[in-house]
Symmetry: C2
Subunit: 432 residues, 2 copies
């Protein structure tokens, strides 16, 4: 018996998948229990210049024919169409699917899951979240006997690199992005990364798996890092925290539900996620029985992603040889995704204010009116200020937990106070 | 259909497994696709006082009858016999096995693997290595398409707690152990932990999985932490490193093989493993495609271990319901385990020496005679020393990589030099 594999896409990841399949055949065969045969690689432009490791005779433009005649389809093209149609066709023809396509899974995962269930085939997608890091399989399988309470992920390497640069050099956002682009960590158009779109897709997938619930992408609250300033980073450092773009997936109670969101977050410097530097990714999971877990590694790159794809391919191929099926979609919990305004968060707010009696009372009243309780408040006066009438101070306030909408309204109201010159910085703080 | 589960053992972990099985039945049934029924709990003393969550009618002393009449046996007793016989009997009767028994797996894993293969049942053991941390499944399955080059594990919480205490308080070994005992992190007799026996068993299991090779426990080189002094820790801190008890499993070349060892190791402060504090565990994996990965979490404790056991139970039970089998023993690579003396390591050596011309030359000659190359050498003179004849200095030497036997012989020869008062500290340094 031979397991026939069709590859869709031959970019950076696809080339590496093909190379590993063609050069590590013996090892893979030993692990699968049967040889794997790469029967074709569907590409749009077969005449394009390619890595010499790719045999020209495997290239084809007829993706539809390829997927209908294999045991496993490996998809590393990306995007919604024509990929979705091809994968549905593959499954209808009885092929299992291994994909790295986070956009498609976040956008329309249920359609794929249902097709896999209907046709009795596997659907694996380890490479779609956090690249090389095994996180999909641990959440779906290792934690299958546990109850996940919260997932905190640094799932976008570009933004982690940019924020890490801002922290370590004091650079502003634009300079840090430029440097990331120069080093290949950011695209020429970095929108998908810096605006949090990439992280939001991964958050939707992670939350679905962790909470056995469908989480539509449009219910994921998304804020990128374009608004994070050097002053924010300096303020974070002053309070012994670091700013990270976190994908936060958590259970809510009263009412029961899940909250899924992506936004810049201040995390304590001694939290394991704080030490995730450069373009690395990490996913921190809090489970009822297991307690805190962290998974750390490279979140992107051709070879790491190809490694994750091959792990899935071995699993799918083993099922072809030995029988059995991987985990199905698990959505029995069916929890609602709560709107951001209702979610409990904490804010770190810095205000530039007049330094005179009564200011603090006015500020405190705004918090009280919105029923937001203050955890810490620190007032600092910058340098010597001779003129009594124009003395200025900075108030740094960290709130207790409150509904995000109330916190947002508090900040809006603070901005309107005469005694407040400016809201210098607003960042959410990681809750315990 | 109902999946019948028999539990062997009702200590801390067993009680928690039973409690979760009995209270989270609906969630587990949703994940398995069929209800799980706990049919019996084999104990030695059924009349012992137990957690009220444990129904007395489930307790039995007839473990042999229990394992012969279930679909899955969960074993949390520990030790070699009678457990091995019971598990073999269970598998012969067609039951899959979930075990947390690292001693049995390290001692006689092949017998269990072979029985599982012969009878077509599953053998899962996530909880046997690093407690709650999903590491067995990622290595066996997620990295199945990759090539693991090295595994570095902090796999014993007691020793990590003790070393962490020594680092953070400057305490000596005995004081730190006493404190660990007071807090419940160390047993009254801490031998199995502090002498590295526990870590060695886990290293043997991890190496077998990572390298597709049988690694007999007696081929694991083992050194505990009883010889680590406050001076060693101070020396480590001075060179911006931390001392950890590492389980190191690595491929060797020239000749091909694997090296598996447990010993105190200096690791750079900025390495992700250096930030693993207290009784936490972590496993750092270097794979050809994935690059560096780290898995972090709680390595022990009733509830975390029970969570890992239940994850395995869900997998084994799913196979009962939906067909299929988990991964088999993979030992096609069949690499020899190299003796410690031949392994390439690096040493950090501190010598108390006379401070006079010619001393450095004698020391350097000893290294040269053993063909050990020095990477860095630092000489420090403590305080004011008036008497020329008795001036003393400390030499801190870090070597390049060399055979461990040559390094050991170098240290022995140094100790015999007249100009060397004492070899104050010898620690291995993590290689790149």
């Amino acid at each position: 018996m031979t397991v026939r594999v069709g590859l869709l896409g031959c970019g950076v990841v696809g080339t590496e998948v093909a190379r590993l399949l063609l050069t590590q055949g013996d090892e893979l065969a030993a692990r699968v229990g049967a040889p794997l045969e790469l029967t074709g690689i569907a590409v749009r432009r077969p005449d394009r210049r390619r890595d010499p490791a790719i045999p020209a005779h495997l290239l084809t433009t007829d993706a539809e024919a390829l997927v209908a005649d294999v045991d496993v389809v490996v998809e590393v093209v990306g995007g919604i169409e024509p990929v979705r149609s091809l994968l549905l066709r593959a499954m209808a023809s009885g092929a299992s699917v291994v994909t790295a396509n986070k956009a498609l899974l976040a956008e329309d995962g249920p359609t794929l899951y249902e097709a896999a269930a209907e046709h009795g085939v596997d659907l694996y997608f380890e490479a779609a979240v956090a690249g090389a890091i095994p996180i999909v399989r641990p959440v779906r399988e290792s934690l299958a006997g546990d109850r996940v309470e919260r997932v905190l992920g640094i799932v976008n390497g570009t933004t982690n690199y940019v924020l890490d640069q801002m922290h370590s050099t004091g650079a502003g956002f634009d300079d840090a992005v430029e440097q990331a682009q120069a080093l290949g960590y950011a695209e020429a158009d970095p929108t998908a990364d810096v605006e949090g779109f990439d992280a939001a897709a991964k958050a939707a997938i992670l939350a679905s798996l962790a909470f056995h619930t469908r989480v539509p992408l449009e219910r994921v609250h998304r804020e990128g890092i374009t608004g994070v300033t050097a002053a924010d980073v300096a303020a974070a450092r002053a309070s012994d925290t670091v700013v990270k773009l976190l994908a936060i997936c958590e259970r809510t109670t009263d009412p029961d539900g899940v909250s899924v969101r992506v936004h810049p977050t201040m995390i304590p410097r001694d939290h394991p996620l704080a030490s995730v530097r450069g373009a690395f990714n990490a996913v921190f999971v809090e489970a009822a029985a297991a307690g805190p877990l962290m998974f750390y590694g490279q979140g992107a790159g051709g070879t790491p992603t190809a490694g994750a794809v091959l792990g899935d391919l071995v699993s799918a191929a083993r099922h072809r040889v030995h029988g059995g099926l991987g985990p199905r979609e698990s959505r029995y919990a069916d929890l609602p995704t709560r709107p951001m305004g209702e979610v409990l968060t904490r804010y770190h707010v810095r205000l530039d204010v007049e330094d005179r009696p009564g200011v603090l009372e006015q500020v405190a009243r705004v918090f009280a009116e919105h029923e937001v309780s203050i955890e810490t408040l620190r007032q600092t006066v910058a340098g010597e200020q001779d003129d009594q009438a124009t003395r200025r101070a900075t108030l740094t306030i960290v709130t207790h937990t409150a509904r995000d909408a109330a916190l947002g309204a508090t900040v809006d109201a603070l901005a309107k106070l005469d005694v407040v010159d400016a809201v210098a910085s607003v960042l959410r703080v990681m809750s315990d």
